[in-house]
Symmetry: C2
């Protein structure tokens, strides 16, 4: 199973500003390539992992699910949150899970899924990286600074994890697109 | 006066790991271009601003000063820290300052300095950006994730500040070098 952490971030590595403010994403949307690029990415994915905070943010923004038609694994103690997500779309199975990320990823793999998108947040990504289950980072950097807010990885402590820079290019006029692959040969 | 925030960071925007661990910098040093590139940068600089935490870290690492021969403005309440820095090298004037960053930068400018390096940390950079006095970001990203630790900008809240991506290239095999210029035309 192959796990990708795909997200947008600021220059200072944040995935949201104070109060979960995501208005900085407009800077990337203005680049005009997001829609085609996301469509290309999501076509490779067969299950989504999302944490409580990210799911709650989606709901608050009026978007019931991160994506329709792909199985969603919601890492949350919140039964009502999961039920609301499951009720949002009959074609989008929602599985609520809790606890350590490693057995959660094992269960997703056992369910036959091969390409996983960690949709957020940085805490879920941090937990997955702590157990070395992140294979790819697909990061788009917006040309601004947030100064506070959650970062792309939030973890208590991490062993040194190296990555290979597979792709580096501009995203729109002033954004940056980076694709990193986990390098397990060089720990 | 032109202010540059020049630093190294991880993929997740951190400038140090837990406990001010900077061992990740070895990944960039291994790229072999740091010495020449830093020499080229420092030749353009005529004063350095540094915060208490960064200065204390330097001292702990056995380096008494961020650089010898350039005036240093130490933002710190710690008189002993400033005195120790001043005593380290007769050719490196050290001025201890406190309080808001705007009058500090004004004082540096009034002293005749034109090109300033914010040597660290992210709190000083955040204060300077909050008053829109950061003109350039010169960031080198190491191919690893720290997960926790201070970030490249730490600020309570920031207005939207846009940057123009002036340079984007690989740094060594897997690092990234970014040069951003503050774009004040597009706030």
């Amino acid at each position: 199973m192959y796990v990708t952490w795909y997200t947008a971030m600021s220059i200072d590595g944040r995935i949201a500003g104070p109060g979960d403010d995501l208005s900085f994403l407009a800077l990337l949307e203005a680049a005009g390539e997001h829609e085609a690029e996301f469509a290309e990415f999501i076509a490779t994915i067969d299950a989504i992992v999302i944490g409580s905070a990210t799911q709650r943010w989606l709901v608050k923004e009026g978007q019931a699910l991160p994506h329709r038609g792909l199985p969603i694994w919601l890492v949350s103690h919140d039964v009502a949150l999961a039920e609301a997500a499951a009720a949002a779309d009959a074609d989008t199975p929602v599985t609520r899970v809790e606890g350590d990320i490693a057995p959660i990823l094992d269960a997703i793999e056992a369910a036959g899924h091969e390409r996983i998108w960690i949709c957020g947040g940085g805490d879920i990504a941090g937990q997955a990286l702590a157990v070395d289950r992140v294979d790819e980072l697909l990061l788009t950097m917006a040309p601004t600074v947030l100064g506070s807010g959650p970062t792309v990885f939030d973890a208590a402590a991490l062993e040194r994890r190296l990555f290979t820079l597979e792709e580096l290019r501009r995203y729109g006029a002033n954004g940056v697109r980076m694709r990193w692959l986990r390098d397990r040969s060089a720990t």
